[in-house]
């Protein structure tokens, strides 16, 4: 039987990918950010997930305004890195796990969450930067990846509660898959940041740290945070943090916090990172 063994939360700032791709992670600006991922790289090389179910948002790369799915699951054999305006990142193609992805799609839809099934899409920094942060620069990603795109671009995104509950449904789906697979679920994006308008650059460290605590210890309370609070307190793009709740919903109610990292700034953003394991 497949099982979800651990969850990872991480920001997915595009400049992190650029820092790795151009080899400047040792520079004083970047070093403290990447230091916080050293534990994570060791940890994941020991845990060796077969599949990562990767919750992220597309940043107007695969989905234009022609089609805006709230939850979309990638069921393809492979996904290429997107050209986001400056050429695709020099990272390997992402290999999917169509058997498990289709199984999850069917199971989750039958649990009343209406997923959009995607058979072809490119994946942008939202998905490839977390892989880079956790795995470095391998020639091939060491596991299969199921992309799960959440709309956080067009208002309104799904509520925190909806995200937590879809995470619970994903867990049930994974646990009903016959093959013996070690599956991790990652929630990406955040933490506080605003990229637009005269208020750009907003960072709310107190709020972010409370959210980290709440996500670990009281996910239901975190799920009850309304959209307006994310927008007002954490910046217009801070609302990406609802995606961390999908990850949290797929884990046990009580989890072990293996690792935490928080750093300001990375580009315009507060970097947050958690590793959680089921007990």
């Amino acid at each position: 039987m497949a099982r979800i063994t651990a969850g990872v939360a991480t920001s997915h700032v595009p400049l992190l990918g650029r820092a790795v791709d151009t080899g400047c992670t040792d520079e004083p600006y970047w070093a403290p950010i990447f230091k916080g991922y050293e534990f994570s790289k060791k940890w994941i090389s020991q845990k060796k997930p077969d599949v990562v179910f990767l919750v992220y948002n597309d940043h107007a790369s695969a989905f234009s305004l022609d089609l805006i799915p709230t939850f979309a699951i990638g069921c393809a054999e492979a996904f290429a890195p997107a050209d986001e305006g400056f050429g695709p990142r020099p990272v390997p193609d992402v290999k999917g796990h169509p058997d498990l992805a289709w199984h999850i799609a069917q199971s989750v839809i039958q649990q009343d969450f209406d997923l959009t099934i995607v058979n072809k899409m490119d994946v942008d920094h939202g998905l490839t930067v977390p892989l880079t942060m956790m795995f470095g620069q391998p020639n091939q990603w060491p596991c299969k990846v199921i992309p799960f795109a959440v709309n956080v671009v067009q208002y309104p995104p799904p509520s925190g509660r909806r995200c937590l509950n879809v995470g619970k449904a994903i867990r049930k789906a994974v646990e009903s898959f016959d093959e013996d697979l070690n599956v991790q679920i990652w929630g990406t994006g955040g933490m506080s940041h605003q990229l637009q308008g005269p208020r750009a650059g907003l960072i709310n460290q107190d709020w972010d740290k409370r959210f980290l605590d709440m996500l670990v210890n009281d996910p239901q309370a975190a799920a009850d945070i309304p959209h307006i609070e994310y927008l007002r307190e954490t910046g217009s793009e801070g609302i990406e943090m609802v995606m961390w709740l999908v990850m949290r919903g797929a884990l046990d109610p009580a989890v072990i916090e293996r690792h935490r990292h928080y750093h300001v700034p990375c580009s315009n953003t507060a970097i947050g990172h958690l590793i959680l394991e089921n007990k």
Binding site: L65, G197, R199, L202, I228
Partner: protein, 129 residues
């Protein structure tokens, strides 16, 4: 009944809601087209001519040519779509963000290095908390 917009009292912030999205459809779709190298080249060769291929308002086209991101947002642009324009120009998110705040890139970067823009005084229009 009008759509509820509880976020209108947040200063310096435009939420990309239904009304903005409808207004900005063509502007944002133009931005998407810059994900292809040949379109980037055509755009940079003659911006006005390339923009005329899109059903955008004159104000939207002018804002693009001026690289006035606040104006583009006001006219329905979404920052993740607009990012294709400054990425195609070889500029960073920090460059664009600094521009939108009216700060120099150095001053903006210094603010970020000092912990970012504080939430205090930036939560509600006309309030100091």
């Amino acid at each position: 009944m009008a759509l509820e917009k509880p976020y209108l009292d947040i200063p310096g912030t435009t939420v990309f809601d239904a009304d903005m999205s409808r207004q900005g459809y063509s502007l944002n779709q133009f931005c998407m087209s810059l994900m292809q190298a040949e379109n980037r080249k055509r755009f940079h060769t003659d911006e006005g001519k390339y923009l005329d291929e899109w059903q955008m308002s004159d104000a939207q086209k002018q804002a693009v040519m001026d690289r006035d991101y606040n104006r583009m947002i006001e006219l329905g642009g979404n920052i993740y779509f607009l990012a294709k324009i400054f990425s195609a120009d070889g500029k960073s998110f920090v460059h664009a963000a600094a521009k939108m705040t009216g700060m120099t890139e150095d001053n903006y970067q210094a603010m970020m290095n000092a912990g970012g823009r504080p939430p205090k005084g930036n939560r509600y229009i006309g309030r100091s908390d």
